[in-house]
């Protein structure tokens, strides 16, 4: 009995030592070397691919953000600032509850199923809103023109992109609100439309932050 106990203890000791040595290799050396190389060769990317406008960091090109008006008094949800291109709905984002010293963004999806009544309502409301705000005096949006990404939340809640269809759908509104010719906004969207990588990977997309940054620069020049 004692013999098998000491045997087990000896074996467990070997297990622990093995783990500690391998922790040194895979949990200390490996990440440090990778970090060194990443910081040296890809400094901008390794630190979050931020975008600057007018000398100020305005976010990361990879992380979607809201383009809202400052919230009015007593308003629960801030209203979208319609002078800027809008991204996808973000119903899946959470707020942190554990480490409350920070106001961290909690990435995530809504996880609602296709027959979930709440999701059906969200989609309905989003579609109605997209049609309403994007229809201008001389240009009415038909509900069938609204692409799926405009009315659904993404997996991360932080999708930085929208489909080119959704960007084009917003062109008349952007032109009207900013007093720009439609054609000029149209070509701005075209310039910022990225096709599939090598022609077949992923889907065509428009990065909303880059597009809005370019729009701001365009407005500043006038």
């Amino acid at each position: 009995m004692t013999n098998s106990l000491t045997n087990t203890a000896r074996l467990l000791g070997a297990g622990l030592r093995a783990l500690l040595v391998l922790t040194l290799v895979t949990g200390v050396l490996y990440p440090l070397v990778i970090t060194g190389i990443a910081q040296g060769l890809f400094n901008h990317k390794a630190n979050g691919s931020d975008i600057t406008a007018d000398g100020k960091v305005v976010g990361s090109s990879l992380i979607g953000q809201p383009y809202n008006l400052p919230p009015g008094k007593g308003e629960e949800t801030p209203a979208p600032d319609l002078t800027w291109f809008q991204g996808r709905p973000q119903n899946g984002l959470g707020t942190n509850s554990v480490n409350t010293q920070y106001k961290l963004i909690l990435s995530g999806a809504t996880n609602r199923s296709g027959d979930n009544e709440e999701l059906v309502q969200w989609v309905k409301d989003a579609k109605a809103a997209v049609v309403k705000v994007n229809s201008t005096a001389g240009h009415t949006i038909d509900p069938s023109e609204v692409p799926a990404d405009a009315v659904t939340s993404s997996g991360s809640g932080l999708d930085p992109d929208i489909s080119p269809q959704y960007a084009h759908l917003q062109v008349h509104r952007i032109a009207e609100r900013n007093g720009l010719p439609v054609a000029e906004v149209q070509s701005l969207v075209d310039e910022h439309t990225e096709g599939r990588t090598l022609g077949f990977m992923g889907e065509p997309r428009v990065n909303v932050l880059e597009l809005n940054t370019a729009l701001k620069a365009l407005l500043a020049k006038r």
């Binding site: 030592r17 895979t26 990317k45 800027w84 979930n116 999701l119 990977m201």
Partner: protein
């Protein structure tokens, strides 16, 4: 070009890349596990462990190595999480509660990576990098070691010896996983995955205000997360988070990383048993199931059935624009047919049938191509069953690779395939019967049942993905899912190693005219049939109550 064509082209490109790489990688891995030489760094490690890497082990000794090493892993990871609040480098993140710390420790040691916590608000640098990421490496190496031990059982003769666990573990880490992860991590950083040790970033926003994000060693963890078929995300959104998976290329590259070792191990198997044809037969069975599932998934998701998706005109809920339906379908199938469980889109918001395909993928036992190591040994156990069934049909004593499949062997194989279904069905039934677990559901009806069925399927098969609408951070789920992960990992390993032991004691019988040719397409077909029929019969009633009811509504 339409999205469907683009999806198919991505599938073809991935298949081509895997076909190219699996041969040299598989042959290399066979050489690693058969080598007589020790690298200098390995000698230092053996000295640190205090183990002699040249001692041959029989199956009980090999199993003891697996178990104590994993026990040490659970203890250390549990302690790290419980102490997080006082450890330096934790950014002020608090210690994790006991039930969640147990669940997470078990989850990472068993290669499951089920996560009942939010990565960005719960885990600091030390726990992520020196705790969780380490288990990403070593749990993968343990799986590969057990698979190699089973292969040695087929290849060996009379001695009953299966190799040395410590040598297999260390070589798997040092010669296979670390070099591959190194290259992969650099590629990921070049795509835009972050890699730093800074604290929480406060970054300005376009219309004013600011965002706060975590920094972290994400690329180094992401690489091994996929390569070791682990799947535990740095962030809650896992591979849907742009900092983990920023571009369409990184998405395909991550799917490639998930699949490359499991597929290449069939080559390793072929080389080690002295006939690459045997490896091709296993590869063909795995590849057929994988291709079939991807096609079904793309069909289900592109046809977007379900009230909300029909209204939205596409099943984009829970999916990212840059990946689209094609890239998301490819990822979802690859992660559930392996033991990965990483997600680039959220399975709970897939169509009813699409969600069912992810469930069925795990229920097959994750063998097409399966987790690193666990996929190969799972498929080889199914091959033993298939050979046995074929033997019954023609009335001959079945044999596989020159080893007789007798009473003892078939019992071990049968017990292996009974463990996970028993865990899944019993625990799901218990959760449905008790009053409180059901409160964790977000969706009701058939989809609510699927949430719980998915959770136990994922845990028992060591997958780790979720219908994340289930609130699993309760004592009931943390505890029962933890137990499911432990038993679902180690009980099957006991039967695999016992099977390896009894095979290794046998003297190979010569091939005769009556021997079933297991290196032929016919056998690969038989194997696919056996896998589908056995799993189908086991899980059909449960699937009918969940995804089938939803998908056909």
């Amino acid at each position: 070009m339409g999205p469907v064509t683009a999806g198919v082209l991505q599938l073809l490109a991935l298949t081509g890349a895997l076909a190219l790489v699996h041969i040299p990688l598989g042959t290399y891995m066979a050489r690693v596990y058969s080598s007589q030489r020790h690298l200098r760094v390995e000698r230092w490690i053996y000295k640190g462990i205090g183990a002699d890497p040249d001692t041959e082990m029989r199956w009980p000794a090999y199993l003891r190595g697996v178990l104590v090493f994993s026990l040490a892993g659970v203890l250390l990871l549990y302690a790290l999480q419980r102490l997080q609040g006082v450890l330096p480098g934790s950014l002020g993140f608090a210690s994790i509660d006991p039930d969640q710390a147990f669940n997470t420790a078990v989850s990472f040691v068993t290669n499951t990576n089920w996560q009942s916590y939010y990565g960005e608000q719960a885990m600091g640098h030390v726990v992520q990098t020196a705790g969780l990421a380490v288990q990403n490496f070593v749990s993968a190496a343990v799986g590969m070691a057990v698979a190699v031990a089973l292969v040695r059982g087929f290849a060996g003769s009379r001695s009953g010896e299966l190799g040395n666990f410590w040598a297999d573990l260390v070589r798997g880490v040092v010669r296979i996983l670390v070099p591959l992860a190194f290259v992969a991590a650099i590629v990921l950083v070049a795509c835009g995955v972050i890699q730093n040790f800074s604290g929480v970033h406060t970054v300005g926003q376009f219309t004013g205000g600011s965002q706060e994000w975590n920094g972290g060693a994400v690329a180094s963890q992401e690489a091994i997360k996929e390569l070791g078929t682990n799947g535990g995300g740095y962030f809650n959104a896992n591979s849907a988070h742009p900092f983990e998976n920023p571009t369409p290329f990184s998405n395909l590259f991550e799917i490639f990383l998930i699949l490359v070792i499991p597929f290449a191990l069939t080559r390793t198997f072929g080389v080690m048993v002295g006939s690459v044809r045997q490896g091709y037969a296993i590869l063909a069975a795995m590849g057929t199931i994988w291709l079939g599932f991807v096609s079904l998934m793309m069909w289900a998701e592109f046809s977007h059935q379900g009230p909300a998706f029909e209204l939205a005109n596409g099943a984009m809920e829970g999916k990212e624009v840059r990946f689209g339906i094609g890239g998301s379908s490819l990822f979802a199938v690859s992660t559930t047919l392996t033991s990965t469980g990483a997600v680039d889109s959220f399975h709970s918001s897939f169509t009813g049938l699409g969600g069912g395909i992810t469930l069925l993928g795990m229920m097959l036992g994750e063998i097409a191509p399966g987790g690193v190591g666990s996929g190969l040994y799972g498929m080889l156990v199914m091959a033993v069953i298939a050979v046995f069934i074929a033997g019954l049909m023609v009335g001959r004593t079945p044999e596989y690779l020159g080893k007789k499949i007798g009473t003892r062997e078939i019992k071990q194989a049968a017990l292996y395939i009974l463990v996970t279904p028993a865990l899944v069905l019993v625990l799901t039934a218990a959760a449905m019967a008790l009053p409180t677990p059901g409160h964790s559901m977000t969706n009701s009806g058939a989809h609510g049942f699927s949430e719980i069925l998915y959770a136990y399927t994922s845990a028992s098969n060591n997958n780790g993905s979720a219908f994340a609408s289930l609130n699993a951070d309760t004592q009931w789920f943390n505890t029962t899912l933890g137990i499911a992960m432990l038993l679902g990992r180690f009980v099957p390993m006991i039967f695999v190693l016992a099977l390896a032991g009894s095979l290794a004691r046998q003297t190979p019988v010569p091939v005769t005219a009556g021997t079933l040719r297991t290196g032929k397409p016919l056998f690969a077909g038989l194997l696919v049939g056996a896998v589908l029929i056995i799993t189908g019969l086991t899980y059909f009633p449960a699937l009918a109550l969940g995804p089938l009811a939803e998908g056909l509504a």
